[in-house]
Amino acid sequence: MKSPFFYLLLVVNVVLLGWGTYQALVVAPPEITMGDAQRIFYYHVPAATAASILFGINFLASVWYLVSRNAVADALAVACAEVGVVFFGVVLVSGPIWARYAWGTFWVWDARLTTSLILWLLYVSYLVLRNSSESGSTSVLAASLAVFAAMDMPIVYMANRWFPTQHPQPMIGTPNLDHNMQTVLLWNMAAFCMFGVMISWFRYGIERTKQKIDQLHIQKATAGSPAMALPALLLFQMDDKLLREKAVQHQYMVIGYVAVWTIYIGYLLFLLVKLQKMKREAASLGLKEN
């Protein structure tokens, strides 16, 4: 289905993800007070960066769609919004796991956390709208909503700069972040941004096929929102007394990493199942693949 170029990039991406994870787990120096639990940071921040980029692309594609009514723009907008929601879901799951260790609580209603949750909800409502509007007007309505949703992005970005928050302040390029840690973070940022773009590319292909299928017969493809937050269940058994021990730091790190990969892999499986369904449907309708 894809060009050899896609597979080449895929290999590069897998290597990069492996290298980034190796750096995060082995090379990066342990943090003084938080130990291994701090290593969740190397997955949390890159996921946020990737999600922001994807939401940004979604905004541009939506404006492009409103201006030109181009089906390519629409497919790009859906792909980026959906993958962005998954990546932001990773942010919202990995953050609380770390926070449970660092602050002793999963969630506080400070400006950064609240605005982030709203941003995620906005894009979930975007996906809900896409699945429940009448076929003809879906794309136009969704593109309009995307413009509204994008207005929230600057608020999230500036939240921990404008207001005093419990969420850590921005650290890249400041003396607060150890040089080695920053290098590891940048590796992971590169890896996960590329990962986000690759999945979106894959999702975009599916969306284009879907558009072709829809042209052949008007039938709604059902797309559920990705299942999330399952790994959080693991944490309910933890005891506060154990909190500050090294083994516990390690445990938090493992839970964080497992949670993140559960979401990514879960979403990829969801996409593969969707693709298989679509292939069968396309074959039954006689749609030629290109």
Binding site: V128, S132, L141, F148
Partner: protein, 226 residues
């Protein structure tokens, strides 16, 4: 016929208000709903005087937010009967005038609701403002406009979807949470007098300007989405 946008908007407002005056179904249901919320909250929390100062910002705006949602659904659902919305679509009048008319109509309705409910809140919760109470008027005007302008836009959007009324809260609440947070904090600040509400008022003003602009720009697209 050459009518300016403002004149057309004024005509729309007059038409909406006259319809509402004759039937009074929206205002009555809004009022009754808000009253129920006030009563339920007051015995669910049973706050003391100090607590109610802290809580009432949230209570007031939750009550207004939910009752506004009722009004908004009605304002467009009314136009679906007899294909009025389709008539608007083919009419040569600019879509912005229809949107602004609807917004102003809803704004006035919600303001009436707020004027009627405010004394009740004061009565039930023993409210006295420690801070600068005149700020409440500004917060009220800006907050109501923020809710109504987004609400009118998303109500127009949600009647285009399959599950109509169900869709509105799903679309409207996430978009307006930043504004609602600002309104609640500002109102509580005025009641308790702990800190200034000016930051939130500025935020609300910016919010209103930004979202009014986008709504006006995109309304034509949404009205004619096919």
């Amino acid at each position: 016929m050459n009518l300016s946008v403002t004149k057309l908007a004024a005509l729309n407002v007059r038409k909406d208000l006259r319809l509402e005056w004759r039937s009074r179904d929206v205002l009555n249901s809004m009022l009754f709903f808000a009253l129920l919320v006030v009563v339920i909250f007051s015995f669910a929390f049973a706050p003391t005087r100090e607590e109610s100062r802290r809580l009432s910002g949230g209570l007031i705006w939750t009550a207004f937010l939910f009752s506004t949602t009722m009004a908004l659904n009605q304002s467009w659902a009314r136009e679906l009967r007899n294909g009025v919305l389709d008539a608007y679509r083919v009419a040569p009048a600019p879509a912005e005038s229809l949107f602004l008319g609807k917004c102003l109509g809803n704004f006035l309705l919600v303001l009436i609701l707020e004027c009627l409910m405010a004394p009740l809140f004061v009565l039930f919760y023993n409210l006295t403002a420690v801070g600068a109470y005149w700020q409440l008027i500004v917060i009220c005007l800006l907050g109501t406009w923020a809710l109504v302008v987004n609400g009118t836009f998303f109500a127009a959007m949600s009647i285009r979807t399959r599950n109509r009324e169900l869709m509105l809260p799903l679309l409207l609440l996430p978009v307006s949470i930043p504004a609602v947070t600002a309104m609640v904090t500002a109102t509580s600040n005025v009641f308790t007098g702990d800190s200034s509400a000016l930051v939130q008022i500025k935020f609300l003003a910016v919010f209103c300007v930004v979202y009014t602009t986008i709504s006006v720009l995109l309304f034509d697209t949404v009205l004619n989405a096919e």
